[in-house]
């Protein structure tokens, strides 16, 4: 029955685009297809849930059609990520029903509803593929469809540049992934995961390292690990909000899935330095991600950078798991892996919530610049509340779902001290410090975001007249928020199957008592906090509304509040080495020099990976190409000379070869 549901889930995702494109510009049809998509995603979530909790395997083999073996199998790991895709996809689909209608005209909306199911289908294929061909088929299509969805929002000059960088980096990443798959060929019977797994055991160490490094680079590019993260803050913000929610929350996870499938399942771990490399990448990505997020005042770019940070945290978990595996502590490796996967699920939930919230804010105020927002909680009560829940979750406060993953990560870092090796015993606990620092900066970053955007006095007319968004959008965000709080209070629901999954993957029995405090004490603490909350809030208190105290001056205006740049100034000063901001202050005086008419302060971050790493590479290629171009001189004699030289060269080669 579950197998039939899975097949129908895939088939339906293929049918919807056909139906939408078949009858174009018919809003009734669009509404039907959007509801259909919602239903299909719910079915998908059900199938994935059953397979994830009960752990039974589904399989679908299309090899009789395609020239290469094309098989999809849903084991526990695939089910988990399929659950992420569908569980996050459903609310996003619900959200976009009214969002798309309000924002896009006929044909654009048609394209949106045609490409969205295909995008979900390609991700589903990637996550459930069990042969290299199927995986790569889905992998490339995922990039194409997401680029198509971004293009729907407009094709201005700047957007095209971002899409260009996005597609180019994805292609380069895909090349690395293809190479890592094909390196199995000399030893593997075929290119399906089972035979690759068998071959991996008997491969020489050099080849395994090459495969690991290539897959690390390939999946790192897709996940947004620091040197390769350039595309993430460029591509996510310019996509329509529901699409950027899907991209940030789910598409990044497919990269995590790929890396876990490759490194843990197929290669089965490696020497300790693999773990250190992943830990280093995670730490650098986390720190730089959140530090860049701190200075952003565009809502969606900030969320995109915070995705980079969360990917860093996930990689910290994976790195710890690799180190444990290398120092034969598989039980703790399973715990660390479970922590990383749990954080991946949590991140997909609260990040999609925040992006949908950003979409709602954009819908209501037509701007995403935090400096122009303010006081939105009073005007958009539901959106404000769910956004608050999202912010609390992303910081990792207890009683919200970000906390569980980070807690287990801390627990495994501390357990790292038990490993006999000196280096592990020092590195892993210090990573706990790095994680705490990332958490601290994230707290101030999102306090700034929420404080400036949703609280205080509105800073622009649009913010002043903002009104609550459509109910379906509110409901979808509320669903996600409820999920965040539920998983925050009872992480045990998801944690036990995750521990079983990690155990299966590493062929060991995961330490379930290591996560006892999370699964059992956290609910009690939630009850205690709730009780104190009710008792204290219950006390009747007379309330008097009066204007804010302005030290006796007549009235405060919105410009007297702290702006987002001002809020992050202290931390920017502490980490000035990271930004190397160049500050410009231009003052415009009225008549006398003592009474300035206006002072404009601008601080722009000058350090950027694009300038220091990518631009030189591109210039080198274009330079070589320009020199090669000069070889095509246009003079026929020179062409003849090339032929004769080629002939002579070959004759000499033949003489000596």
């Amino acid at each position: 029955m579950i197998q039939a549901a899975f097949n129908s889930f895939l088939a339906a995702l293929l049918m919807i685009p056909a139906a939408t494109l078949f009858c174009r510009r018919d809003s009734r049809m669009r509404r039907l297809s959007s509801l259909l998509l919602l239903l299909v995603l719910l079915v998908g979530a059900f199938v994935a849930g059953v397979s994830f909790w009960r752990g039974d395997r589904l399989a679908l083999d299309l090899s009789w059609v395609t020239p290469f073996p094309f098989a999809l199998t849903v084991d526990r790991l695939s089910a988990f990520f399929l659950l992420i895709i569908c569980a996050v996809g459903a609310p996003v689909a619900l959200f976009s029903i009214s969002y798309v209608e309000r924002h896009y005209s006929g044909s654009k909306a048609d394209w949106m509803w045609a490409l969205l199911p295909l995008f979900v289908l390609s991700m589903a294929i990637v996550v459930t593929a069990s042969t290299a061909f199927a995986f790569l088929f889905g992998w490339e299509l995922m990039t194409l469809f997401s680029a198509g969805l971004i293009l729907i929002d407009g094709d201005s000059e700047r957007r095209l540049h971002n899409i260009f960088i996005y597609l180019l980096m994805m292609h380069a990443g895909a090349a690395a992934v293809i190479a890592s798959f094909f390196l199995f060929l000399p030893h593997a019977a075929g290119l399906d995961f089972a035979s690759m797994r068998v071959a991996a055991a008997s491969m020489p160490v050099g080849l395994r390292t090459a495969i690991f490094l290539l897959s690390f680079v390939g999946f790192g590019t897709k996940a947004g690990i620091v040197p390769f993260h350039l595309w993430l803050p460029k591509a996510h913000p310019i996509a329509p909000s529901p699409v950027s929610a899907l991209m940030s929350a789910v598409m990044l996870k497919t990269a995590i899935y790929g890396f876990v499938r490759f490194t843990f399942d197929i290669l089965g771990g490696g020497p300790t330095w693999w773990g250190y490399l992943v830990l280093l990448a995670g730490a650098v990505t986390g720190l730089l991600g959140i530090l860049y997020a701190l200075t952003e005042h565009d809502l969606k770019r900030l969320l995109a950078y915070s995705s980079v940070e969360n990917i860093g945290v996930i990689y910290l978990g994976l790195g710890a798991a690799l180190v444990f595996m290398a120092n034969n502590a598989p039980a703790w490796a399973a715990v660390a892996l479970a922590a990383a996967l749990l954080h991946a699920l949590n991140h997909s939930l609260f990040k999609s919530l925040l992006f949908l919230g950003a979409g709602a804010v954009a819908d209501a105020t037509h701007t995403l610049d935090v400096e122009l927002l303010g006081g939105l909680l009073k005007r958009m009560r539901v959106t404000g509340t769910v956004f608050l829940i999202g912010c609390c979750s992303i910081i990792g406060l207890p009683l919200f779902n970000g906390f569980a993953g980070e807690w287990i990560l801390f627990r495994s870092f501390i357990a790292g001290a038990e490993i006999p090796g000196i280096s592990c015993a020092i590195v892993l606990p210090l990573m706990a410090g790095v994680l705490a620092l990332i958490g601290g900066i994230a707290a101030s970053c999102f306090a700034k975001l929420y404080g400036v955007a949703f609280l205080g006095r509105p800073r622009s007319l649009e913010a002043e007249q903002a009104t609550e968004v459509a109910t379906s959008m509110q409901v979808s965000m509320a669903l996600l928020a409820a999920a965040c709080v539920a998983l925050g209070i009872l992480p045990g629901i998801v944690l036990s199957p995750l521990m079983a999954l990690a155990g299966e993957l590493l062929h060991t029995q995961a330490l379930s008592d290591a996560v006892f405090p999370i699964t059992h004490t956290l609910p009690l603490i939630a009850v205690c906090v709730g009780a104190v909350l009710i008792v204290v809030a219950g006390v009747r208190r007379i309330r008097r509304i009066s204007p804010t105290w302005a030290c006796g001056l007549p009235a405060l205006n919105s410009r007297m509040q702290y702006s987002s740049a001002a809020f992050s100034k202290p931390l920017r000063k502490v980490f000035s080495r990271v930004y190397e901001a160049d500050r410009t202050v231009d003052v415009e005086y009225a008549q006398e020099p003592y009474f300035p008419k206006s002072i404009v302060y601008r601080s722009v971050r000058t350090t950027s990976f694009e300038k220091s790493l990518y631009q030189p590479a591109v210039d080198a290629i274009v330079g070589v190409a320009a020199r090669l171009r000069r070889l095509q001189t246009g003079n026929m004699q020179v062409y003849l000379l090339y032929i004769f030289l080629a002939l002579i060269a070959l004759l000499v080669f033949m003489r000596f070869a």
Binding site: V65, T66, P67, F68, F133, L136, F137, E140, L141, L144, D155, E157, L160, I163, F164, L167, L168, H171, A172, A175, I178, A179, F182, L183, L185, P186, L191, I621, V622, V624, A625, A626, L628, R629, Q632, M636, V638, Y639, L640, Y642, I643, L645, A646, L647, L650, L651, M654, A657
Partner: protein, 484 residues
Amino acid sequence: MTLVFLLLIPLLAALIVLTCKRPRRAVRVAMSAGALEVAAIANAVWRVRAAGMLECGRYLRADGLTAFFLLSVGVILALVLVYSIGYLRHIPAGRFSSPRWFYSLTFVFVFTIMAVYLSANLGMLWICVESTTLASALLVGFYNTKGAVEAGWKYLVVCTVGIAFALFGTIALYLAAFKSGVNPESALDWAALMNAASSLGANRDLIKLSFVFVAVGYGTKIGFVPMHSWLPDAHAEAPTPISALLSAVLLNCAMYALLRFDAITSHAIGSEFSHTLLLIFGGLSVTVAALLMVVQRDLKRLLAYSSIEHMGIVAIGVGIGGPVGLFGALLHTFNHSVAKSLMFFTAGNVRESYDTLRMRRIHGMARSMPWTSAGLVVSSLAIVGMPPFGLFISEFMILTAAFSASRYLIAILLMVSLSIVFGALLHHFQPMLAGKRVSVPAKLKLLPTDFAVMGACAALLVVFGVRIPDAFAYLLQRALVVLQ
């Protein structure tokens, strides 16, 4: 007998088309002749599929490999002729450039190509390949503009010189056969040489010398890098249907000839020497063509360099060898022909609407020419090797072969070049497709034939991307058996 028909139809068509004065009649005659020819090809391929090999007299033979290449010629010829109906409306009538002359020269060109595929004798093969150059030189210079004449002249001289070396190679092979006791009468017959290949091994030096000259000779026709300089000029200046024919059919024709020689050489002295040569040429072509595509300014020159790159990929596929590599290479020739002809058709439409091919001056294509830009997007995605299309399958095969033969350097080189090409195409096509159109001339009214042609190409690409039809796969296997 069917083979003779294959040759006769285009020759007769060329003469008849020349006689009819009014362009409308010329087009109608050309179309019917084209249909006849395609039917003949289909019949021949069907017969070869059934009988395994057809022979007619001492000089005509059609085996599995010929049948496969004939099939791709048939498909491309049909597409080009149908497209040319729409295309020729816009050609200013000149002394030589009237539809009458166009179709007659085209049919002469088709005749020479048929002759190449059907010739059993390597000497005859050389003569036919040389005659394809002569036939297509006039077509390249068809428009009589400065650029066309220059391109035609360079194409003629450079290719003739290149081919001359192939003649020397053929003679060297003939000498080796003659020396190792094959009777002079059948010393140049391909089948005879294949049977006597083992005895040829005696004089290794001569066989190696012959393959070097043949590689440089036919390499010039294929457009391998050091000898490629004529290709961008010829393909860019020729009228669009002709550049489609040149890129999609003529390059395969030269590759077919090289395959024949490679088969003999590998049977005689082992494939190590010839495949190394092919890999060198392939790697060089893929890398240099990819880099040159980054700095191109003219759309058709860009497509020409992309042809060089794809021929390099085919050479790499053959160079790696093994059943998978060869299968991938042959499949790649077919896929590339279809995708490249679709790209040239869209380029033709762009030239009609914008009357320039400088990519920097073309903007807002998506809005003003939706269907053509759809064609351009589909074909460029296919050319770059994106999944749902055929080229992804063949490149997948070639890479699989490369990695299982653990030739990592050439595989890495190939993948880096593919990424550079992806970046180049994206960089060039994005500003063309997006943006607002500055001057909006009369909307280009696409004929139903244009829609049909572009639709057929796209359909072919997707079908071959998802599933290779059994009949086609069987034909490919037969071609492999012939070469193995």
